[in-house]
């Protein structure tokens, strides 16, 4: 663009302008011309610098180079900064305030995940009915079916607890373990453990047990 010619033209026309609006348009044109000069200046400086390489040439060279050579070129021209990371008293204070004001996990994710993050607790029969896992009728039917199955499989003898839970799926195992625990709590079956072997045995009871109930923790894993 011929900047000089444009400026001469503006100067030539300047005496003709009488209104403020006309003069403002003129000054705007001057500003735009100045911007162009600035950009041209930058372009010239860049071309004159040793960093200027034809864009197409550099693209071609970059395509030709393997990644290893590119990173090697970088490393050879690299002067990493030397610094020491440390925590300042202010940073320490910020960390303390953050930790002090940090909400417990259960509170933090309440809005996002509902009850996610609550501690493990007890789920009783009423909870399951309320959650819609069972209806009362279904629960009693399933419990009776499991009781019958235990009677049938054990023939009054001890049977391996884990064998009885089966290996169908993790969900099925948990469900059967829960129902079995219910039978045991009700005194319709009993359980014994062998601490040395880790074996757990279960046996149906013909009559409801009147002995004092004891708690036994049994873990149910996906592969057991």
């Amino acid at each position: 663009m011929d900047i000089k010619q444009k400026i001469l033209l503006l100067r030539e026309r300047l005496p003709e302008w009488k209104f403020l609006d006309e003069l403002l348009v003129d000054s705007e044109a001057m500003l735009e011309l100045a911007q162009i000069v600035k950009l041209q200046d930058e372009w010239l400086k860049h071309r004159a610098s040793s960093l200027y390489i034809d864009p197409l040439l550099i693209q071609l060279k970059l395509k030709l180079l393997p990644k290893e050579a590119l990173s090697e070129a970088f490393i050879k021209s690299w002067h990493p900064t030397a610094q020491v990371d440390q925590i300042s008293p202010r940073g320490l204070e910020k960390a303390f305030v953050y930790w002090r004001d940090l909400q417990p996990m259960a509170e933090r994710f309440k809005d996002e995940f509902g009850s996610y993050g609550t501690r493990p607790g007890l789920v009783d029969y009423d909870d399951l009915v309320n959650l819609g896992v069972f209806t009362q009728k279904q629960f009693e039917t399933t419990l009776t079916e499991l009781d019958d199955e235990l009677l049938r499989k054990s023939n009054g003898e001890w049977v391996d607890y884990r064998d009885f839970l089966g290996n169908e799926s993790y969900e099925s195992k948990v469900l059967r373990a829960y129902l079995l625990a219910f039978l045991i709590s009700e005194g319709r079956a009993t359980l014994k453990t062998e601490p040395l072997t880790g074996k757990i045995w279960v046996r149906p009871l013909a009559e409801k047990s009147k002995a004092l109930p004891k708690s036994v923790a049994v873990s149910i894993t996906g592969d057991s």
Binding site: S71, I75, H79, A82
Partner: protein, 186 residues
Amino acid sequence: MESESADRALLERKVRRAFQVLILQRGRNPGVKGWELKRYLGRDFRTILEVLGEDVAPMGLEVFEVKGADATDDSSRFLLRFKEAPTVSEAEGAGIRIDDLAVLAATIAFVNSKQARVARREVEQFLREKFPKWRVEYSLDRYVKRGYLDVDDRAMVHIGWRTRAEVDEKTLMTLILSRAQEASKK
């Protein structure tokens, strides 16, 4: 004689202070601005930095100045950096990924060839011919965050202040051109 040794003691104290100020990271970015150094060391901070430069040279370090936008003393950033570039095995040993560095090297060269500013989309398009899409996006974001690249509000990529501080761009461009010639000869 007494005043001479007092001056020397003062200078030594100021040099020690300068080293501590430069080596300890304050805030997110390494280095200290000129106006801060003036506050810590006084108006003659450049003289102090010169002496410090001589002191740290045997350790393979140098005091480096990155000019600010208005090229004044106040806006310049001063930092300590390695005098010599590390070896490839040293860089690898520090856990730096070759692929990541290759993306950065290619981006710097590409941006410099385009008058030091180019649309991010164009950079990504170019890099995707050589690197997987996920690595391009991940690496660009990472290097913008670390100050090696800069992206303005119009999504134009510029060379970041950290590249100006740590990378000898002329050497990088020369090496890329010479290596490419070797590669094409093979």
